[in-house]
């Protein structure tokens, strides 16, 4: 049977614990080493227990095709939404908030098949709200983006 996500998450914790142990041993003073080392060892041991549990569980249970196809749909939705979020973050990093906000909002609403009018109005309102609250109201400088000279 395929290894489930819960197994891989346990492996992630195991790797993290091992990383913590190795790194902690490089810290020069005992004061900086003791607690990170202790905590990393605990994570490593507990994660080891979880990994073993998951491997034992792997053999149990029958293949559930209905659940599998439901998971595929969920994973697709998740992949898409993560893509949108990552793309938005990258856009902000490159061109700043005031360009990314309207581009992202409009593109997302159009992708979700909302009408042009609704998409434009909502985008304008959201941009105006962000500007009014943060630039005018709170006078906080929003990130301008790498391309426009921000550091």
């Amino acid at each position: 049977m395929k290894l489930k996500g819960s197994f891989w998450l346990a492996v992630f914790f195991l790797a993290l614990g091992l990383f913590g142990i190795i790194q902690s041993l490089t810290f020069v003073y005992w004061e900086s080493m003791v607690l990170p080392l202790a905590v990393s060892i605990i994570i490593f041991v507990l994660a080891g227990v979880e990994v073993v549990k998951e491997l034992r569980r792997r053999g149990d249970g029958e293949k559930d095709t209905a659940k599998d196809s439901e998971h595929k749909v969920e994973n697709r939705r998740l992949g898409l939404i993560l893509g949108w979020v990552a793309g938005f973050c990258l856009a902000i990093y490159l061109v700043g908030f005031y360009i990314s906000i309207p581009v992202f909002t409009f593109a997302y609403l159009k992708w979700r098949r909302r009408s042009w009018l609704v998409a434009v109005i909502f985008t304008v309102v959201l941009l105006a709200f962000s500007y009014a609250v943060f630039a005018i109201g709170l006078k906080v400088p929003l990130y301008k983006g790498l391309i426009f000279g921000a550091r």
Partner: protein, 345 residues
């Protein structure tokens, strides 16, 4: 239809690019005209509400009036202020990024060669320095250590410190060396109130700090200054002796004490990014010079500081002073590294 639209858009874009590159270069406007309507990014490399933050906001508002620019203040106190210092250092030379730093931390990073500090002190553009704060050694008003003799007679003394590379720790190490104490500095106290409370409880016997940051604890009666870490008394506290009045120092120790009234003395430095055009820098320095003579400005600085600030250094004089500071720092690096290894708990 879409293809034609695309071709038309491409032609327009190409035309714009050719026009932009073909245009003759614009002459640089005069500084006064340059700053009008612009936005100055003003970085405070200290946390909000700190003594330097309050001074910085006064400076920023007057700078805005003087330049005609809109000044946006942002605190970048991460990594002990390093984040702000690096930020200003890496900004472009357009003169639109400035900031304030605590001079002791600014110089201290260089003394200890903090790997996270990407800046070089001598390359910044210096505008004004406000105040010159001596470091004092604070003790409990009612504790068993009321004089240098008491300290020198003590065993296993514990002094409070912040981070190992911070001025509080370095000050404590200096006091231990200069007085020949049987002591160590316990680092890790998060804030001034933590240290003052630790003194109140008797967990530590004292610590080094500048007066503005210790003011609240002094007024609350938790600590009092025993001496000033300098070769002369500070006019702010004429009754508090200098360390050199209380103990004989050899040449090396005297140089170390002097460091605390020059390079490591606390002041608020207003700096701008390296490489600014000479005329813009001169313009900013001129505004700063005028501020030092402005009664309103001085009154506001005094209000936020809680006392009458005497020391203002502007322009080339400040830049020369910083270069002079940098020239001698390497000598002290070895001393401080040795002191940290020997006396840090």
């Amino acid at each position: 239809m879409i293809k034609k639209f695309g071709i038309a858009a491409g032609v327009v874009l190409l035309a714009v690019i050719i026009a932009a590159t073909g245009c003759p270069p614009q002459a640089e406007p005069a500084p006064a005209d340059f700053y009008k309507g612009k936005t100055i990014d003003f970085v405070v490399a200290q946390s909000p509400g700190s003594a330097i933050d309050l001074i910085s906001r006064v400076v920023a508002s007057h700078l805005g009036s003087g330049t005609g620019a809109s000044v946006i203040v942002a605190n970048r106190e991460g990594a002990g202020g390093l984040e702000g210092m690096n930020y200003v250092y890496k900004a472009g030379p357009d003169g639109l990024t400035m900031g304030t730093v605590a001079s002791s931390k600014f110089v201290g990073n260089r003394v200890l060669n903090d790997p996270a500090a990407v800046y070089e002190i001598e390359k910044f553009s210096y505008i004004i320095s406000i105040d010159r704060q001596s470091y004092y050694f604070f003790v409990s008003p009612e504790g068993p250590y009321q004089s240098v003799v008491d300290l020198q007679a003590g065993k296993d003394l514990k002094l409070g410190g912040g981070s190992p590379s911070g001025s509080v720790c370095l000050g404590g190490l200096t006091v231990i060396k200069l007085l020949g104490l049987e002591a160590e500095v316990i680092t890790g106290f998060g804030s001034e109130s933590d240290r003052a409370l630790a003194v109140e409880r008797g967990e530590v016997i004292g610590y080094c700090l500048n007066m503005p940051n210790a003011r609240a604890s002094v007024e609350a009666g938790m600590v009092k200054p025993m001496f000033v870490l300098a070769t002369e008394r500070d006019p702010l506290t004429p009754d508090v002796p200098a360390i050199t009045e209380l103990v004989e120092l050899d040449v090396e120790d005297l140089a170390l004490a002097r460091l605390w009234e020059t390079a490591l003395a606390g002041s608020t430095l207003c700096i701008a990014s390296p490489g600014i055009a000479e005329d813009r820098l001169a313009f900013l320095r001129d505004i700063a010079e005028k501020l030092t003579q402005d009664e309103g400005f001085r009154a506001e600085i005094n209000t936020v500081s809680g006392y009458e600030v005497q020391s203002y250094v502007t322009g080339e004089e400040l830049a020369a002073a910083m270069l002079d500071t940098v020239a001698n720092l390497d000598d002290f690096q070895a001393i401080f590294i040795e002191l940290i290894e020997k006396y840090r708990a």
